[in-house]
């Protein structure tokens, strides 16, 4: 009887370990995560406007159809990345995701405070190499540190009414992301 209980206890403990390890391994094992879905549509280190979110043609689940979206799939192994995004008339935001879809930084047009959002994205190692005086003189230069070498920059512009969607898409069309050679 006691022995049977011990076996069950061992099973529950082991089950807990299986559960935790599968949850932790899921982000690495997932084949259909956002990055994998976007990879065939977006060349690396290029800002690509996505097609409109329509029923039956969604690239990712739970996308907001009121927004025009552009994606820059980045790889910082060649150097830091510069993002220049003009702000649309209504509302524009930039969200940075790691390769595993963790939103590590997000900023909107009002917080950016200008008519264009300008950001430098780099790894911690690349940030350490930026000369200190340069960082001070460029006080209005916003540097974002990426925890991973690869990831996604997602630019979203709101169309407050469906008729304004062309305006939102127009605003995103001129957005750029490019590697800055050192």
């Amino acid at each position: 009887m006691v022995r049977g209980l011990l076996w069950i206890l061992a099973a529950v403990l082991l089950g807990g370990i299986v559960h935790l390890s599968t949850v932790l391994a899921m982000p690495q094992a997932a084949k259909q995560d956002a990055y994998s879905r976007l990879a065939p549509l977006t060349p690396v280190n290029t800002m690509v406007p996505l097609a409109l979110t329509k029923a039956g043609a969604e690239i990712m689940p739970f996308m907001d159809p009121a927004f025009a979206t552009a994606v820059c799939r980045y790889d910082l192994s060649g150097g830091p990345l510069k993002l220049i995004a003009p702000v649309s008339q209504a509302y524009t935001s930039v969200t940075f995701y790691t390769r595993r879809s963790v939103a590590f930084y997000a900023i909107n047009d009002r917080a950016a405070g200008r008519r264009t959002i300008e950001l430098d994205l780099m790894t911690a190692a690349q940030h350490a190499q930026v000369p200190e005086d340069e960082e001070i003189t460029a006080a209005d230069r916003l540097i974002i540190e990426s925890p991973t070498t690869m990831g996604l920059i997602v630019l979203r512009a709101l169309a407050p009414e469906s008729g304004l969607m062309p305006m939102a898409r127009q605003a995103l069309a001129t957005a750029k992301c490019q590697i800055q050679s050192q």
Binding site: G15, V23, D33, P61, S93, Y105, N108
Partner: protein
């Protein structure tokens, strides 16, 4: 022999328990640090580097990109205020007020996060599109057949999910009380 039987039994039960628990938590959407206002639930932390392992696993599995914390916050509802699951063959009314935000959108999805095709191409409303009454309140009627006013078509699907997104808002991790964030009331009007 008993040892062999015992360990096989233990391993089997362990695998079943562990995988079953993982499947349940990832499909039911268990995440910690949630903010509940009426029938609406949000996980502001899921839009930051502090996202918990369960939410991370869920996001990786579904392929969605969570709303970033500096962008806004997304509230999900799967039932009305009385706990009735959203059925696309029934009529629901959403009315009241929203927390302060520069813009908001409300969108109707299938439980998997897809849009529902309909003839008028209406999948939701933005704060600018919605028709309000004289004191600034609004009512949205979520129903399979056309209604006057703010009609959000369900396409008659078996189950749907509503997502209310507030952009540029103070609502977030620090929000505790319903007073700070009055979310619209949801009521079933009939089937």
């Amino acid at each position: 022999m008993r040892l062999l039987f015992g360990s096989c039994f233990t391993l089997l039960i362990a695998a079943a328990l562990g995988l079953g628990a993982t499947w349940l938590t990832l499909t039911r959407g268990v995440a910690f640090g949630g903010l509940t206002i009426g029938a609406w639930k949000a996980w502001p932390k899921s839009g930051s580097a502090d996202i918990d392992p369960y939410a991370r696993a869920m996001v990786a599995r579904t392929g969605e990109l969570p709303t970033g914390m500096g962008d806004g916050v997304a509230f999900y509802a799967r039932t009305d205020d009385g706990g009735n699951v959203f059925d696309g063959r029934c009529t629901f009314s959403i009315s009241g007020m929203t927390p302060t935000a520069r813009y908001w959108t409300v969108t109707l999805y299938t439980p998997e996060g897809r849009l529902v095709a309909n003839t008028i191409n209406r999948h939701g409303f933005t704060s600018e599109e919605i028709v309000r009454d004289n004191d600034g309140r609004f009512t949205i009627t979520v129903a399979p057949l056309a209604r006057p006013g703010n009609w959000l078509p369900t396409g008659g699907i078996e189950q749907f999910v509503l997502v209310w997104r507030l952009y540029d808002t103070a609502i977030g991790v620090a929000t505790r009380t319903t007073k700070e964030g009055p979310m619209p009331a949801i009521e079933r009007k009939g089937c």
